[in-house]
Symmetry: C2
Subunit: 467 residues, 2 copies
Amino acid sequence: MGFRIPAAAIALLAAAPLAWSAVAARQASTVSLIVANGIVITVDGTRRVMNPGSVAINGTEIVAVDTPAAISARYRSADTIDATGKVVMPGLINTHTHAAMVMYRGLGNDLNLMDWLQKYIFPAEARTVSPEFVRVGTRLALLEMIQSGTTTFADMYYFEEEVAKVTKAAGMRGVLGQTVIEFPVPDAKTPADALVRAEAFARQFAHDELITPSIAPHSVYTLDAKTLTAVSQLAKRLMMPIQIHLAETQVEISLSQKRHQMRPVAILDNLNFWAPTTLAAHGVWINDDEIALLKRRDVGVSNNPESNMKLASGTAPVMKYRKAGVSIGIGTDGAASNNDLDMFEAMRQAAFQQKLVTMDPTAVSAAEALEMATLGGARALGRGQRLGSLEPGKLADLIIVGMSKARQQPLYDPVSQVVYASRGDDVETTIVNGRVLMRDRKVLTMDEATVLREARVAADLVRKAVQ
Amino acid sequence: MGFRIPAAAIALLAAAPLAWSAVAARQASTVSLIVANGIVITVDGTRRVMNPGSVAINGTEIVAVDTPAAISARYRSADTIDATGKVVMPGLINTHTHAAMVMYRGLGNDLNLMDWLQKYIFPAEARTVSPEFVRVGTRLALLEMIQSGTTTFADMYYFEEEVAKVTKAAGMRGVLGQTVIEFPVPDAKTPADALVRAEAFARQFAHDELITPSIAPHSVYTLDAKTLTAVSQLAKRLMMPIQIHLAETQVEISLSQKRHQMRPVAILDNLNFWAPTTLAAHGVWINDDEIALLKRRDVGVSNNPESNMKLASGTAPVMKYRKAGVSIGIGTDGAASNNDLDMFEAMRQAAFQQKLVTMDPTAVSAAEALEMATLGGARALGRGQRLGSLEPGKLADLIIVGMSKARQQPLYDPVSQVVYASRGDDVETTIVNGRVLMRDRKVLTMDEATVLREARVAADLVRKAVQ
């Protein structure tokens, strides 16, 4: 009945799977970490979403993004994080903040900008900002950022070497800008002092894996041409990124014209200000010619939708920047004006604000908002080659986002769900430079209770300062 | 050595506290629940914030709001919830939603309104809406609402008696509007059928503690004058609140003018449409004369900032409504267009959108946004006497909001922190009509796993419907 399979052939067939897996095991590389079986939003060149997909990480780098079967065939890992049913995506890049200002969150609300600054923020800063205060505030900000999936932040503040120390200790990546401003501030009596500080800071953290020292001239209306030129020269000499507030408010435009007889972009272009990497924060009151110029000068832009709405600053021409090919990322601004460091909120508002203002519901899709919050931000900070997407060879900055809350059901489109129905609190795991900073909501690189206790003490100083 | 206190006096002193507490115990009333020692945001006539404060509840009503000492002296309770360090505030009132549409959350995104409706929402509704589907979807919505601190929702959908059943079972309060629209829909082939349904629904839930039956004519551009008049007459006869989409988009204005040769408000006023309680959802494209008319007719308005931004509908003139004294609340709209039912997001966006569009950072303060999301919504739904604030005699609809997350530190101003730095997920306890629906994040009136499982099954129907 039927034909007989020779016994030898049966033996061969039975042995084959074992033999094959032995070969596979011999061929598999060992990597440090595999994030397995998630819904992988890559933000790669084809905006591929793999469902399911796995990411193999070795040391500080992503080595492969592929199907779970392909990854498990090719790699063994010391550690595996199961991401079944969860989104795996590039870590969020907050392109503009003043991290330590979380200490002024909710201090003075719903005020005109000058009332708010003069009655609350400036007195509080004058009386409270110290190296210790900056460390405490930045730690609170780092905790919030790690908990909400930010893996790189661009900062502008004082005592930036202290920001760098606590950032490095927390394992976070930062492009940290030492402020230069013309009036006396807690860490520098003069702009010249600030330039000295910036240079020392740059040398202290040169070639650091996580910290990119940067210089942060405050704005064209708070600096003269001589200082702006000196900042530019220092940045070019030390290859430091520049971060500057640019065209944030209408008041800034008129102050700039009064002081320099030019609009902000022209002032800077006239001084040949632009460094190899320059990030313009806000970029709200910018016309078409200025957008074209920023593109030619390879200047990146940070869009800050929540701050621009809450402070009634205006709306950045995001669609025009994108059409012109300007690198544009998203920022939260300081939590004093926003009022949080949650990049999920910022992504959502980046979409909502543009849709409203352009009266076009197709403006800034969920995919575009997510791209700006990741790869766009990386490019705006001059790090597009190394950060912002899940691709082999990029640095391993990624997050795992839970999708199981009632408010996230049903799940038809993961990109839409991330942008329109998720929060920072949904981030379960945050990985920077291949190191797990938070796992299953437990922050591993900071002691949460200590951070909160120190922040409470510092908050009492702030309360006294504005009494 | 020293003077001697007579033994009798010592005995008297020793007995005094006991005697006093015995008197207090005799005088203390027994109540069902005390929420003790919180940061109580009352939204009362003087917008009092008591820190600390306690709320005594007996049965379905608030009996006292006072200092913790005063409350514990005057009341004993069967149950006490400690709210130390947490905000206690009126439950949020979502004045406009289509609850069961959570089933279409994230279905089609970033599309022009007509593409979205015609390619996704209408086909999905035609093929999936049934009594069972509405029950499943509404349960998912109820879970999300209870988890995010909503205690009353105003709904417009189909099979509203099913919405009522599951709402009542979950212990939630609802003003539930049976839809009337001119084309055939899953629960009514004609507007006449829908009117019959609405009347039966009103009779079925007459005098219900939690459910207020309502009628929901879709809009002036999807109904003729005859049907609008019939709706109005039925509402007046049965004393049912009316909910209607009004002036949501510019397209609606032109369709209305084409069909009725009048703008939407004039169409309705001409028909003497207004019932004792009429809620106009959206109210975006409304001019000054129309605002004055809505005030004279005592029509309430539901502002839906997130939906209006995401769908690029426009911006309701909230500041003008408030100046004119129109009752105005906040709504999320359906989660298909928003994309969640989180009233905290809606509060924040109500503030942000107005600040942006009026270019005035003082527009819609945190306190005003919170008032609109509570008392304002109660008034817009004709329930201002019984809902929307924490005051003796009001129904016991309140929430406890945790304030301990890193992103909520420091806490300078609880109202600012609720509106600008908190989320639905921070709500720990939700109480409706004196009954605890969620305690310490555990929903007590629904089985979360069952709700989510049933929603997954229904989502598969939706996927098939739009393939």
